[in-house]
Amino acid sequence: MEELFAPPAYEWKRLSPKFRSMRILTSLIVPPLIFTIAAIIVGVASGKWWISGVIWAIAAVIVIVRLGFVTRSWRSWGYVEREDDLYITHGVMFRNLIAVPYGRMQLVEVESGPLERAFGLASVTLKTASPETGARIPGLTPEEATRLRDRLTELGEAHASGL
């Protein structure tokens, strides 16, 4: 099964472990926060606090499931710079592997949101002329992100072929 998504004769590069920490934190904070707000509104409005209890329980289940998946999801990510193209794979349940030829890259973006910055992370996005390409690698260290960007731009220029 694994071999369907393995790159030919290359080792996947993995994401920074900080990405997992960030995902654990967001899993612990975001669903409880949203559900708590919902639970309080329901409780105050209806006065039936047992409904709020159910909502909290759902939040707890979601947090547990998500935490269970965080490590697997983090491990599922991988990318590899091959001679002529970049491979990216991810997904636990729905898996996919995308291959972008360097010659097709039009734009390489490095982004880092406030949360990512707090964890010392950045993501790299590759754009081609096709909107479906959607090649994004999250959870890279800033050094790796800039290295990847420079490397990809350089390779993109070397392979550039127009349309």
């Binding site: 369907l4 291959a99 972008v100 479906e132 349309l163």
Partner: protein, 784 residues
């Protein structure tokens, strides 16, 4: 309506006129002009709004007994008035500050009242030019010119329709690198008001209104909302609760109306035509749109067939055109520009695909089915899933209610993705997506065996890479003038000339002006044996010395090699290029010049040949003699056919028969051999002023086409190559010239012109790789 006022602001420094011959004209600011003065009215949709007000008032007054409150709507009128006034004012301001120049030097559009913007588009950047006539503009005989240059679209609105189409023809000529002149274009034939097709355009496919409407009524996308509305109506009226259904019905009806608008009104009178500048689509009942199809920007083709079209064998064809998907809601153009054929028979589809994907063999691709276990996931259409590829294209097929076939040339593949969900994993299946730029084409090979999927995805990248490399090679050949400058700068510097002294360029060499009497012919660095060609040409020209046939012929003064480049110094022809003159000349001038061109061609056969008998004169081992005309011409065709044979077998039904017939005909021809230029066409002829008027005074560019054979070949060539000239009346002129040839030489010449049409059709057929227009011409010759 040329304005006498100077431009409103300083001219962009880059935009100053290049140092042209009339120095005085370069100094004065160039007169710019505004679009048509009716523009603000049309542009603000004032007409539409005025009608809407009149109509709205009627509703308000007549709807008194309904639940509408007349007074409630009445206070809307002043607001509407303000809106109309604002639209008028902004429309006027924007018109007032819009100025444009389209002349022999530049294409520039200036807009903006406060923030000035000057857009100058280099001619060669123009990708396609569309003419769009919204209903309101059409009522005033106005049209919008939409200029597509790579990533940006510039609109120029509105101009009178005849000016718009004149500008289009001129700009397209310039975009193709022809040296046309904007002046004297007024003589061109005016296109039909309903289809915007010139007389010279050859319609390939025309969709009749009956077929369009029937196909629309039978299409799945129409039947589903129609059936849903009927079910809702029946169900709700059975329970007597029709008003409750309105919430669902209104969006449905709106959707259906927009579908009618796009698919029927917008596609009315749909015509796919072949013009001298490639394919052109014209369509529309209210809004008339005329767009060119930039073949090199097509990224993929989608053929679809709704279930109920199957008995009629109809198909719909859409294409991905790079850059056409960008949002442009105003005329609802974004959804429809990608339609190549709204409904067509298999023969018409094949014809059109042969033009947009020249050289691709769609039927020869072996298609694979998805494994049987795919039925668990795609129980509704698993038997329709197919995928396959050859060395140039990838094909995927799917769908039962609407059967869809997507075709992506490997060279256009952007990226590849393998996807697998949990159920697919359990079954060992996976999907492969091949990404193309935004558009209707969405090639997905569904539910493959996972090993086949991996194989397909990874090898697809290799195929894409190989195809891109091959395409790049082609392009290098095509845009060689920009590519092989190696050593050129030094060489030009040594002669004390600059690149802008370039007079012309061809497949083998570029020609620069040295002075009034001499030109520098620089052979391309990829040219196989420039030295051999030049030596053989010089020897040939030597044998002509002392023979006066009344026209100028080329003379090689000097030759040499420098910085790794081979060059010759040739005598400069007096006069100007016949081809560029033709495009701007009036009929009354053109016809006498064409006669002189014909006369000059007939004189060529008086030139002495260096060897007796049928022979190749400029080639490896030349002069190479042949015992018969047929053998010589078979040898001439050998090279081109090596590359184009498989191509022709696909594109010309019964090409073997055409080939055999050509050889039977040639075997019957008995003629004394004489010198044949082999490529007598207006770009190789020069024009000068003589007592009798403007006449052809010289013929140049002898080349490997030059042979010793049937002198009728040049006579035929002179009139049939004229059809390739990019001016509107060229085909008419060619027919006229043919009639004159018949007058001079008798009826039997018609047969031989026809034979040589087929010969040249084969001879130039290797153009499929680099010149679609020429290749299309070849196909026409071979299908006669």
């Amino acid at each position: 309506m040329t304005s006498s006022q100077p431009p409103q602001h300083a001219v962009d420094p880059e935009v100053t006129t290049p140092p042209g011959p009339p120095a005085a004209a370069g100094a004065a600011p160039k007169p710019t002009e505004r679009p048509h003065p009716l523009t603000p009215f049309v542009r603000g949709w004032l007409v539409f709004v005025a009608i809407a007000i009149g109509w709205g008032r009627e509703i308000v007054t007549s709807a008194g007994e309904n639940q509408f409150e007349p007074r409630g709507l009445a206070w809307l009128l002043p607001i509407l008035g303000v809106v109309v006034l604002l639209a008028a004012v902004t429309g006027f301001i924007s018109w007032y500050f819009t100025r444009f120049v389209i002349d022999d030097e530049e294409l520039r559009i200036e807009t903006g009242a406060i923030f000035k913007k000057s857009t100058k588009i280099p001619f060669e950047r123009l990708q396609s030019i569309d003419i769009i006539q919204p209903l309101a503009a059409r009522m005033f005989g106005l049209a919008e010119l939409r200029l597509d240059a790579g990533n940006s679209t510039t609109k120029l609105r509105y101009l009178t329709r005849s000016r718009a189409s004149r500008f289009r023809d001129y700009l397209l000529a310039r975009a193709h690198g022809h040296q046309a002149s904007i002046h004297d274009l007024d003589q061109q034939s005016v296109a039909s008001v309903f289809t915007d097709l010139d007389v010279t355009d050859q319609p390939l496919v025309q969709v009749s209104p009956q077929r369009l409407i029937i196909s629309f009524l039978l299409s799945t996308e129409w039947l589903i909302p129609a059936a849903m509305s009927i079910i809702i109506l029946v169900a709700t009226s059975a329970f007597g609760v029709v008003p409750f259904a309105l919430g669902a019905l209104i969006p449905l009806v709106i959707g259906m109306l927009s579908l009618i608008w796009r698919r029927v009104i917008g596609m009315f009178n749909f015509t796919l035509a072949e013009s001298s500048r490639g394919l052109r689509i014209t369509r529309g009942l209210t809004n008339l749109t005329s767009q060119s199809v930039p073949i090199n920007r097509i990224q993929g083709v989608k053929t679809s067939q709704p279930l109920l079209w199957r008995p009629m064998g109809w198909y719909r064809v859409d294409i991905d055109i790079l850059g056409y998907a960008h949002g442009d809601g105003e005329n609802n153009e974004s959804t429809s520009t990608s339609v190549l054929l709204p409904v067509a028979s298999p023969e018409e589809v094949e014809l059109a695909l042969g033009r947009v994907l020249p050289g691709f063999d769609l039927d020869g691709v072996e298609l694979h089915t998805s494994p049987n276990r795919a039925r668990w996931l795609r129980w509704f259409d698993f038997w329709t899933l197919r995928y396959g590829w050859d060395d140039r294209i990838l094909i995927t097929e799917q769908g039962w209610i609407t059967h869809v076939r997507d075709v992506v040339p490997h060279a256009k593949t952007q990226s590849v993705r393998i996807e697998q969900g949990p159920l697919q994993r359990a079954l060992g299946l996976a999907d492969v997506h091949v990404h193309t730029p935004q558009g209707p084409v969405n090639a997905v090979a569904h539910q493959l065996d996972e090993h086949a999927a991996r194989d397909l995805a990874l090898t697809q990248l290799d195929r894409a890479r190989a195809a891109r490399t091959a395409e790049r090679e082609h392009r290098k050949v095509r845009v060689a003038p920009n590519d092989d400058h190696e050593g050129e700068a030094e060489l030009l510097a040594a002669f004390g000339i600059r690149r802008d002294q370039l007079l012309g360029s061809g497949g083998e060499s570029e020609v620069f002006a040295l002075d009034h009497d001499r030109v520098l012919r620089l052979y391309r660095s990829r040219h196989g044996a420039p030295r051999q060609t030049a030596f053989q040409l010089r020897a040939l020209y030597e044998t002509w010395r002392g023979t006066d046939i009344g026209i100028e012929l080329p003379v090689i003064i000097d030759m040499g090699e420098r910085n790794g480049r081979f060059y010759t110094v040739d005598r400069r022809f007096s006069g100007r290029s016949f081809s560029s003159w033709l495009q701007s000349a009036e009929t009354t001038q053109r016809r006498p010049a064409l006669i002189s061109f014909f006369d000059a061609t007939e004189q060529l056969q008086r030139l002495p040949c260096p060897v007796p008998g049928f022979a190749r004169l400029i080639a490896d081992g030349a002069p190479q003699q042949f015992s018969s005309l047929g053998e010589l011409l078979a040898s001439m065709l050998q090279g081109p056919l090596e590359t184009s044979r498989t191509q022709l077998e696909r594109d010309v039904p019964g090409v073997d028969e055409v080939w055999n017939r050509l050889h039977r005909d040639l075997a019957e021809r008995s003629v004394a051999p004489a010198l044949v230029h082999g490529d007598v066409c207006p770009p190789n002829a020069y024009l000068g002023q003589r007592q009798q008027g403007v006449v052809v005074t010289g013929i140049g560019d002898f080349s490997p086409h030059t042979i010793s054979a049937d002198p009728l070949m040049d006579v035929a060539g002179a009139l049939i190559f004229l059809e390739l000239e990019p001016y509107a009346d060229a085909p008419a002129d060619a027919a006229w010239l043919e009639a004159m040839a018949v007058e001079r030489h008798g009826r039997e010449i018609v047969r031989w012109i026809d034979v040589y049409r087929r010969y040249y059709g084969f001879y130039f057929s290797n153009a499929y790789a680099f010149d679609p227009t020429l290749y299309a011409w070849c196909l026409r010759q071979l299908s006669r």
